[in-house]
Amino acid sequence: MSLLEFENVTLRFGGVIAVNDLSFSVKKGEVFALVGPNGAGKSTAFNLISRFYQPTAGQIHFDGHDLLSHKASDVAALGIARTFQNNELFDHSTVLQNLLIGRHRHRKTNFLAEIFFTPSVRKAEIQNREMVEEIIEFLDLQPYRDKMIAGLPYGVRKVVELGRALATGPKMLMLDEPASGLSVEETTDMRWWIDDIRRQMGITVLMVEHDMGLVSNVSDRVLALADGSKLAQGTPAEVQTDPAVLKAYLGEVA
């Protein structure tokens, strides 16, 4: 059963076609990777799902909902969480506070109750912390719990961003280049985490990644894009040997 469905989605910025008549679907419980050269429209596809961009034409469905009828701030409530290519953390907050923001979509108390910090607010806060603490344990973030983001190394920030997305309790996790800027060791960790997220938590993963090693290790299916259009789709091995993909990456044999 497909969780996310792109139907003939096109996005134009003036004369530039960023995404061209793109159709694909992501099945529940799989790891689906988007690959392609720079400017292929991978991040644009993410931003379309996040509702930062409005498609020029086409339909996007998520879990039986028409995604295009939702605002950007309501996407999280449907069960979609994401990370960003270049970290978008809240720099002047601690790791714990960053993860707690992830719980925002589960907020049930209103601001008046929060001003007086009523017992119900306290109860909700404790619940939030219990959830967040599980994620801290899952991602081994204990040493950084009360550290400011501004002082953390890049690799840790990437993990915090993954944690923040997980804290929302999503159905689908979108990872925008989870391994970019990571060391070999950190990339291996990331690989096991993605595996665990899918197997233990049952979360569908949609990711954009350039590291083909990581892609072929974790993903079930791969979609290769170039210039906003679909080049090839299939298992990692199939896509890597596809002539159209080779041509887009390496050029033609002279």
């Binding site: 930062f52 701030s73 970290n87 953390l89 809240f90 720099d91 923001i101 601001f111 912390r129 501004a150």
Partner: protein, 365 residues
């Protein structure tokens, strides 16, 4: 160095992180309640002034320091709070209703103003709110039947529990009114900052894009921030009117807006402490200058000299010095000093050095 070994989630949530902090702040509150027995009437009046400025500072801190929306229009909301309170009291509304009501009125108007203003960001928002500050001057003159126009109106003394409270007749009681107000406001503020609302404010300040992806409704969050900020500022305005006694269109000029913003920058953006530190500087500096002017006058061997614009010159210099040497304000400096003592002798110079910030995602909107 104090190490916190946490054994429950409540420990993480509570307002004071340990018994020592609780003790220090309790001592501070007790001390401020004993102030009337320590200070003479003149300095008590100055203290009251500082408290009122601190309330206004808390108002602006919520919006600028924690939500990241610069406002140069908060004098307009001070005026609104002040006039709405004075007019309500003139109509016979008792203090205990008129005071919170003036705050609610200011908050609601603030929210309405926020709707168009929130389409703007950064410097453009500052300019739009600056315009509001200038506009309010004319509005007060035009609405003469209510506001008394250029000749101004009086804020009647407070009648509370059968007592008449005003700044000159019963300075001690008036000090307590300001003190209780600021304690309540600070308590509410601290509660906001430890709940989802406060976190969403900070999220909007630090990255709108990812706040949105986490399900924070940016427009609504900014509106609530604007509303709460203005509501607090309204309280400060009502107290300012009572403190001044009489006020007109010129009492709440643009200069007050700028002073407010300066105050929270000097105090330290993004901290409750900053509003208090800033208010102490803004509140006491004029007195400090006039006293030191006398000494200088004596020293040179003449009468006290009047130097036009001295106060603003010194304010400006302090502001420049802070932006250059301590952008985190007095509170930032205080945190460093505290850390030095806590970690002695292991403090390193680079500990608070600003980290290289990694590239942010290109702004989408």
């Amino acid at each position: 160095m104090r190490v916190h070994f946490k054994t429950s989630y409540n420990q993480d949530i509570r307002l004071f992180e340990d018994k020592w902090t609780l003790f220090v702040y309790s001592l501070l509150i007790i001390l401020s309640f004993l102030m009337p027995y320590i200070l003479d009437v003149f300095y008590l009046g100055e203290m009251t002034n500082v408290l009122i400025w601190a309330i206004a500072g808390l108002g602006l801190m919520l919006l600028t320091g924690h939500t990241g929306q610069a406002s140069l229009g908060h004098a307009a909301f001070l005026a609104l709070g002040c006039y709405s309170y004075a007019i309500l009291v003139q109509k016979g509304v008792p203090f205990l209703i008129a005071f919170p009501l003036s705050s609610v009125i200011t908050g609601v108007v603030g929210m309405i103003v926020a709707i168009p203003a929130l389409r703007l960001r950064g410097i453009y928002l500052a300019i739009a709110t600056l315009a509001m500050s200038i506009l309010v001057d004319d509005v007060i003159v035009l609405a003469e039947p209510f506001t008394g126009g250029v000749s101004g109106i009086f804020s009647e003394p407070i009648f509370l529990f059968g007592m008449e409270i005003d700044r000159w007749g019963t300075p001690i009681a008036f000090y307590y009114v300001a003190l209780v107000t600021i304690i309540i406001v600070t308590f509410g503020y601290a509660n906001i900052m430890r709940s989802p609302l406060g976190r969403s404010f900070v999220a909007v300040r630090d990255s709108e894009v990812s706040a949105q992806a986490m399900g924070v409704n940016i427009a609504r969050t900014k509106m609530i921030s604007f509303g709460l900020s203005c509501a607090i500022t309204g309280l400060a305005g009502a107290l300012m009117g009572l403190f001044a006694g009489i006020f007109n269109n010129e009492t709440f000029s643009v200069v007050i807006s700028i002073q407010l913003l300066m105050m929270i920058v000097i105090g330290g953006l993004g901290s409750i402490h900053g509003a208090f530190f800033g208010a102490i500087i803004i509140g006491f500096l004029p007195q400090f200058l006039s006293i030191s002017k006398e000494y200088v006058g004596d020293f040179i061997g003449g009468s006290a000299v009047a130097i036009p614009g001295l106060e603003f010159g010194v304010f400006g210099m302090i502001l420049i010095a802070f932006i250059m040497f301590e952008p985190n304000g007095i509170y930032g400096r205080w945190v460093k000093i505290r850390t030095w003592f806590e970690l002695f002798p292991f403090y390193r110079k680079g500990m608070f050095k600003r980290q290289k910030s990694f590239l942010k995602t290109e702004r989408l909107q």
